[in-house]
Amino acid sequence: MSSAELQEQLRRTLGRLEAALSSVEDALVLTDVNGRVEWTNRAFNQFVGQPRLLSLGRLLVELMPPHYVEGSPESSRDLLEEARLGPGSLLWDLSPTPPRRVVEVKWSPVNLNPDPSLVFVFRDLTEITIAQDQIIRARDTLEHDVAARTLELQQARDEALAAKGAMGQFLSTISHEIRTPLNAVIGMSDLLLDISLDLQQQELVQTINSSAELLLRLINDILDLSKIEAKKLTIASEAFSLRSLVLDCCRMMDAALRAKHLELRCSFCDDPPDGLIGDGLRIRQILLNLLNNAIKFTNQGSIDVKIGWRPLAPDSIELDLTVDDTGTGISEDFLSKIFQDFSQEHNQAHASHQQGTGLGLAICDRLCHLMGGGIEVQSQLGQGSRFHVRLPLKRSAPEVSPVSGSDESLDLDLSSVRLLAVEDNRINQRVLELLLAKLSLKVEFADCGEDALERLSEGGFNLVLMDLQMPGIDGREATCRLRALPISQPYVVALTAFALEDQQQACLEAGMQDFLTKPVRVPALRGCLQRFLHWNAHRQGGSVLSELAPPSAALAPLESSP
């Protein structure tokens, strides 16, 4: 290729480059090392506001429009210094006041021989910068708004809490005040019901009486709840017998169960420790509440109470208490707020004849939390409900360690026990005799139900181990008859070959208080004796419940055995 051709090709290439760079939006300028303009593109000519011919050969700094960095004017001389050192960039404001006009300046040395050059690129960032500014402003405003709103909410919350406290105080005071006259209303209407009234009068008085009862229940619940909310309710830490507690609660449901032809089954899984430390009264309150609800919302079928447990530490356990029913179930909507105050499902077909305060489950929930546990519910409309309570509790007696586990170390005072065992088989008699002798207990035997009743009618026995199935009068029948005898009633333990839930229920109904499964083993027997001693101590001291329980209908003292 000739040199003329080469020159021609070079000229055309340069022409194309020139055209290409002219169409670029960024302003481009090439200078020598002293900042004298050597070449510009079209965008640069527009940027400085004069044609290329007037710019060529002049100092770049003289062409630059006034510009500001963070509000203060800047000279372009430093730009040249920087550009000689290497590539870089910065932002210029072309106007000291809003609206902003922003340019990004980029530069780089171009090392061409023999004379190195500098290239500068100016790009208009006005739109992007304004958008960014708006975002930043919006964020700042938002932060400010949120802070202000938070403050308002905090003030509102403080006011609400103060109002709630005052409300609780008010409710508590007024409830106490209402209770006295209300008790009079209930008492007087009770008396009236005993007087011979005509049918209409009786109905009227009955309505007064039951309405007053409901009102009293409501007031007691409100008192409980406001005590909890005011954190004035303290959780007691006392020894109690788990079995007695659960079985007592189940027995209190008898009348209600009979009235609705429902079955209540109660079972203890994995032989839970019986001697526990905690607030027995409050646990009783929770269980009674759950049982009352289960019965209230179940029209046919059964209610299952299951007591399970797991060890947490050597001296503490988690108690698992489940109440299952085959009742109407709970709608999904209501399920989420079932533990809130005054929550009662109103859209139920039978709601008209349901009576309750709507506070029971709220109280259960608060009590469970106060005791360090919790309550959960699972239910579906028409599928029954399951309430599950978990409570951490201490054992009243630490597990007897194997080292000190000899039976002699048993610290039960059995001197007060007078024991009759009703057992028709001589081998079982002998084994029982030996077992009891191991605990230094003497036992008398009856061979059959008739024999047992004859001996028991003379009085003096306070503990009876009763075989369930005997020829003639069986254990249940014997217990029923025993309960009708005008004697100081003993504690009756059913001896059963197989622990069946149905059987346990039948035993409870017959008036038995406890169960031992044959073959009887020492730990089970010891547990049973502990429960007996607990029962006996409370009987001698009068009913613990009637002394300690607040005068709440849900915690009414146990009826004496029929």
Partner: protein, 121 residues
């Protein structure tokens, strides 16, 4: 012993613990009582089956159940309970009925093992 025990060993541990130094005498006493009583009940069950006297079957099965459980014969006790509870549902009652067979087979094993226990004392 080559055959696996049909007796619940926990029950026997308890019984031995109860007997203490007199354990052997106690075991002898209990097993002797059982070996006297159980064959009487077993024969009564067989006779009641032959007579198809279902009430008597339930009665004797029950009477055999709890002493068997007390001496660790839990399998036999279960068989007794099953027969006692299910006797009314058995269609053609005979000594070959599975529930009866089960009870008799279990009882044979229990009696055999108790006999060998006495021999080993």
């Amino acid at each position: 012993m080559t055959t696996p025990s049909v007796l619940d060993q926990r029950v026997w541990e308890d019984l031995r613990a109860l007997g203490g130094s007199e354990a052997d005498a106690l075991i002898l006493e209990l097993i002797s009582m059982y070996l006297e009583d159980a064959p009487i009940q077993l024969e009564a069950i067989r006779e009641a089956v032959r007579q198809s006297d279902r009430r008597a079957i339930a009665f004797h099965a029950h009477a055999l159940r709890s002493p068997s459980a007390s001496l660790g014969g839990l399998g036999l006790a279960e068989a007794c309970a099953a027969l006692e509870a299910g006797v009314d549902a058995i269609d053609s009652l005979s000594l070959e009925s599975p529930q009866v067979q089960k009870l008799l087979a279990e009882s044979e094993q229990v009696v055999e093992e108790l006999r060998s226990m006495i021999r080993d004392l």
